[in-house]
Symmetry: C2
Subunit: 577 residues, 2 copies
Amino acid sequence: MTEEISYPEYSTHYPLLLKNCFMRPLSLYPDEIGVVYRNDAGKYFRFTWRQWHERTCRLAHALKSLGVNPGKPGQPGDRIATMSLNHHWHLETIYATTCTGAVSHPINIRLSLDHMAYTITHSEDKILFFDDAILPLVEALYDRVKTTVQKFIYVSDKPGKPKTRIEPLYEYEELLKEQPPTFDWPDFNEDTYSVLYYTTGTTGLPKGALFTHRQLFLQTLYTTGNRFLLPTLPNDPPNPNTLAVLINVPLFHIHAWQAPFAYVYMASKIVFPGRFTPENFCELVQTEKVNATSMVPTMLAMLIEYPDFHKYDLSSLITVGTGGAALPLGLKAKAEKIFPQFTVGSGYGMTETLAGVIGATIKRNMVDWPKEQLDQVRVKTGLANPAAIDAKVIGEDGKPVPHDNETIGEIVLRGHWIMEKYFKDPERTTTAWRDGWFHTGDAAKVDQDGYIIIVDRITDVIRSGAEMVPTVLLENLTCNADFVLEATYVGVPDEKWGERPMCLARCLPNSGKTEKDLLKYLETAGVETGKLAKWMLPDYIVFCDEIPKTSVGKYDKIAIRKRIDEFVSRAEKVGKM
Amino acid sequence: MTEEISYPEYSTHYPLLLKNCFMRPLSLYPDEIGVVYRNDAGKYFRFTWRQWHERTCRLAHALKSLGVNPGKPGQPGDRIATMSLNHHWHLETIYATTCTGAVSHPINIRLSLDHMAYTITHSEDKILFFDDAILPLVEALYDRVKTTVQKFIYVSDKPGKPKTRIEPLYEYEELLKEQPPTFDWPDFNEDTYSVLYYTTGTTGLPKGALFTHRQLFLQTLYTTGNRFLLPTLPNDPPNPNTLAVLINVPLFHIHAWQAPFAYVYMASKIVFPGRFTPENFCELVQTEKVNATSMVPTMLAMLIEYPDFHKYDLSSLITVGTGGAALPLGLKAKAEKIFPQFTVGSGYGMTETLAGVIGATIKRNMVDWPKEQLDQVRVKTGLANPAAIDAKVIGEDGKPVPHDNETIGEIVLRGHWIMEKYFKDPERTTTAWRDGWFHTGDAAKVDQDGYIIIVDRITDVIRSGAEMVPTVLLENLTCNADFVLEATYVGVPDEKWGERPMCLARCLPNSGKTEKDLLKYLETAGVETGKLAKWMLPDYIVFCDEIPKTSVGKYDKIAIRKRIDEFVSRAEKVGKM
């Protein structure tokens, strides 16, 4: 009998790797512009897919020559950190790192110095790439990370090294010059780790969430398929064949919601603004004829206030996704007034689950609904992808809550791209994963149609007596007031009720409105319409010039609670409880 | 230190299983009609996704009670065979079998009795499901398979068992009655085998090609994504939100090109015609407002000849895919005349690779091309899916042929859904898999744009002197003659040249044309236009009432070559060589 020779590595076990993402544009559209960056000074950098890939190949050779080692399942390769804004260098670094088998660690540069130093030493980053603009930050960190980081790479569009004590310091563009423009991308096990993201550390030290190639590539495949499976509404503009997409969400924030993988795979034109500013946004949409973009609600609020907004032609824009925080209906209404063809979607995710595990999917039986009714679906947190992600909202007894749009429980998840374990942190892994479910710590209810509606972080829920105050509902209603730009709610300790709600609101400049006006609005638009019970009205309202936010733009309720006495003292006591 | 508890089975190793296909329609559209069947007598059977799933759950319980055992990686579960046409029972059986971990073996009922008996005993089928209409065939096979098959299940829309010596015999609908309508579908390793398909055995005994859950589900995910990534042409009708798809290609023929998985996952309305007939086709398209369908060229030719064709409203039909054999341009031109909104695509695949590993993809830079130019792309064999399948055309030296649209080599493949091994046949596995590539035995060339263009089976290539005759080009040209319905070419042994081409053609009834007319046409449309060299013209032309075909509708060149003397004696000797 012949000895059987087979090749599972090329058939049943053909690996799901991130390099597959760039194989599509490279083989189908090598000479089309794939990646665009506009720097602060307004200079444009444009690369065809072939050119971008050649640069990535050169960088892969450079990483090898710098001694970067690949990993294997269960054993991460060398960690390569980036402290960078959104540009082609960052995208090249992420691909060259992961596709040679090492681990990409994009650092959230909005963390505190302490937390940044912690993530670098905890991750044991071997090489650190950083932007010229970020040099002062790296210098401030240097003494705390210099025994961990072996090599620093300086990323700049200007030649030459800066005057700095950081060493050894290499220039990105110099590294590329010496290297060949092709690279034989290796096949390896799909369970090899690819990226390491740290949480923002609002509940202690940041935690490192590791993802494998398989997880990220499957997310890419599902995402691409889902775009096709989304029903078309009667007035939807046709999808452009070459989607131009502007990536505002920082690449260090849950991988800009996986944009670097999905849009490369789709061979979309990827447009990078460096950092988000309203001016950069408008310039790039106009020049690159951007069709799609995503942003956190704060960016949307900044755009709405941008005085030069009307000077630009933004008519190419078809879809604007939001996420990172629940989208207040009021903010949405304001955006619709000034954007042509504005439609929004909402999604839910966290560092440990990747973005968009749950999305506000419109079902095809809804396509003829009036816009107002559709929008109510669009701002729900949504439905989990049924074939990829298993989601439940469970009560304290561990059982799913009834679909009554009322009972509040915790969102638990499992599925292809839910993080398996925190890096070097078995204790917190064991806390998060219980009974075969990843516990998100987010509180939600489920409506009659099975849509999950997020209420708050479990720890942020305001409990008044035996009841939970519906924070997100209150936030949405408050933002519907035409003089309010953004608003959030926290609990104030109360002898009788345990906690009572306080509203922090930021109003339009010169609105001339008072806290009492806002309360009156909530009574009219909330209590009288039956949306709110009277006990849900805030006891305190405080108008602020700025509401504290986390490094990723969410309301920082921990920071607010730390300063609770200060806010209470400034607040108008409006409550009647 | 805490002992780390993690759940790779619910995260990094969350399995890719076929049950995920039906999770989508079940959770999003449970009350929409999902599966429709029209029987020979014109009676309709319609099921919502919930109803269809309940029936599948009952069947899963029945399989358990009949003693069906699941498999594990490397060790297939019990094989459950079906001898069935295209209907809901067949779809239920495929899902209940695979999703309980057993192996579905759809038998090609157009094989010879010998080959059918061989596949059943080689596969060791434990249970055999068969249609009432197929009873005589099963009776003819019975003595040869009764020691292998332990139980027979009779599938019929009429109650009661037939009078037959086959035993033990169960009634499908009776089995379901006793069972509960829910089933706790198990999670298991994605490398578990799901389906076993036998090749048609044109080159010896049929070979069994095994596929895992992972392979089929990944194919589904890629297929779904690709539909979105296909560019939209200026005059394309909009995609309907609920695609109604008519499945003509038998489920036993490479899983009807994976339709049972892709369209369930997409929550399309799946319409089954039992067996393909022009009447059934037209009735179903009209009644169910079918948008999409696929067929082999022979079915298309049958439709074109159907006299009642014009009595039906087929305006819902948007796309008609063809495959299984190269689509002659002439047949396409005829179809376009009588179908409203007819567009065709072409694909390539085989039992071992699944259908559609290579497809005639239109690139987005071509969308403004004139229709005639686009159609020339559409009938090319096409491009491999760049992220899923790796394809090369290699010469005898093992090196890729130049992209010169001329040099002929063999198509070799590897990727997610290329079969790893033949079932219980190490020798033929080793023949097919060499140097990390699956050798298809199909001859092709590659054009300047990288499109693969199939020429013939390596063994069917006609060699005249040192040259290879471009069979597919000749077939296409011949079918362009307005009096020709279908045509193929085989080599006739020749003392001087080794082989010379013979044309077998089937003409329109009462065309009044002769073999000489066809030769003249080939000279005018082929040689004079520069498409053919003179030496490529056939030496022999024979008009037939029927061209021998294999059980899956391809020209059976082995059968033709066996009868070569007969055909030569009937042929008009027209050649000048």
